[in-house]
């Protein structure tokens, strides 16, 4: 058991070293406090450890899997905690358009992600941010903007497909 635990710990630490920052960052953006983001980070890695058998490398990247867990847990938490206001909407400006020069950021995922988002128009990025970071449903966005629900759904889908295509093109390079 000692050896197994030691092995686990190494594995968890390696996973943590690679992904703690984006997970914690997402927690800050969605939940608004360092304390909540820290709890979320712990929950995400515990969930990943428990569900490791369900991760299927053939069907997706490890980073996607972890960030999906993080987003789902954060959204669930916000839904559970009635009375808590919606997460603050992240301004589009906070999603950087170009990678910061000379930044010592070991996360290759971030560079790639920033590049993939460049395939979107500002309106598309704003729309996705309102849903993904702001938690607004397609219906709420439609009502706020005075456009048909179907149009919002189509735009969300179109924007995601653009990012998907950019991700796929990047992987082919």
């Amino acid at each position: 058991m000692e050896g197994l635990l030691a092995g686990n710990e190494d594995a968890v630490r390696a996973l943590y070293a690679r992904f703690a920052r984006p997970v914690y960052t997402l927690g800050i953006r969605l939940l608004g406090s360092a304390e909540a983001a820290e709890e979320l980070t712990q929950d995400v890695f515990l969930t990943a450890w428990r569900k490791a058998a369900r991760f299927d490398a053939a069907r997706g990247r490890l980073s996607t899997w972890l960030m999906t867990i993080a987003h789902n847990l954060a959204v669930d938490r916000l839904r559970r905690e009635t009375g808590v206001s919606r997460p603050t909407l992240v301004l589009v400006d906070e999603v950087p358009e170009v990678a910061a020069q000379g930044e010592e950021d070991p996360l290759i995922e971030r560079d790639a992600a920033v590049r993939a988002l460049q395939s979107l128009s500002e309106a598309e990025r704003r729309l996705l941010a309102r849903a993904y970071f702001g938690g607004l449903t397609a219906r709420e966005i439609a009502e706020a903007d005075g456009v048909p629900l179907g149009t919002v759904k189509t735009r969300l889908r179109t924007a995601l497909i653009k990012v998907r295509r950019a991700n796929q093109e990047k992987e082919r390079l």
Binding site: L4, L5, G7, Y24, L62, V95, A138, R157
Partner: protein, 260 residues
Amino acid sequence: MNCLAVREHLAELAVGVLPEEERPAVERHLRWCAGCRKEASELDQAAATFALALAPAPVPSGLGDRVVARIRQAAGAPGSRRRLRTAAAAVVAAMVAVAGLGWGAVMAGRAERFADRAAQAERRREAALEQFRKVLVGLPLGTQLPEDDTHLGQLAPTAAGRVGGGAVLELVSATRIDFVIVIVNGLPRGPGRLPYRIELRNGTGDVIRAGEIATLDADGGGQAFRQFQNRSLAGFSTVLVRDAAGRVVLRGVVGRAEGA
């Protein structure tokens, strides 16, 4: 709900705002429809891109230790009364361990740029997980393994080996057919290496040959699985992996996958 209707909802599902009342039908469909599942997975990746692009916030120091402590507690580490309840949980732990070995081996190198190493590490890790998954799916045993009978260990390089790593799972049971699964990663494929042979030893020097790994994938990964109809693996807790020339390249010791 048919595929057309489901796909209209997948973007909202990916960004986490699909209304509660519509989610169960979509998730039910995804359980059996591989095509929509693939689409959903790709849209998830696109949505996750948004999170990954955020300017990173500084992570509090000590959070890594607290994460490890939470997992230790959940796993039933010494000091906790909780134990791994099933061998399935132990298998999961072994998979995570395999993933860690892949990373460790790659992170230790210095010649390559970090980004290259990280990308290579992810490929190795994914390959290892995939192998373990295939082996487990192929087992004629069902998924439930008795926790008291499951022994796990990691394989580490010896002086002769110096590279690679792996994990071992032994079932040592009074009522079932004993077996051993060995998964390796990062082993060299050059002349004189293949096949790698698996050897189990007990404390009195007895040896059991437990199969061989005849082929390795591009990342030096492979696996062996052998059942023992007529003999017990009890006490054979030392596991060696030898190359074709007989040199021990990986070594490990298995222990019970419980909190004792």
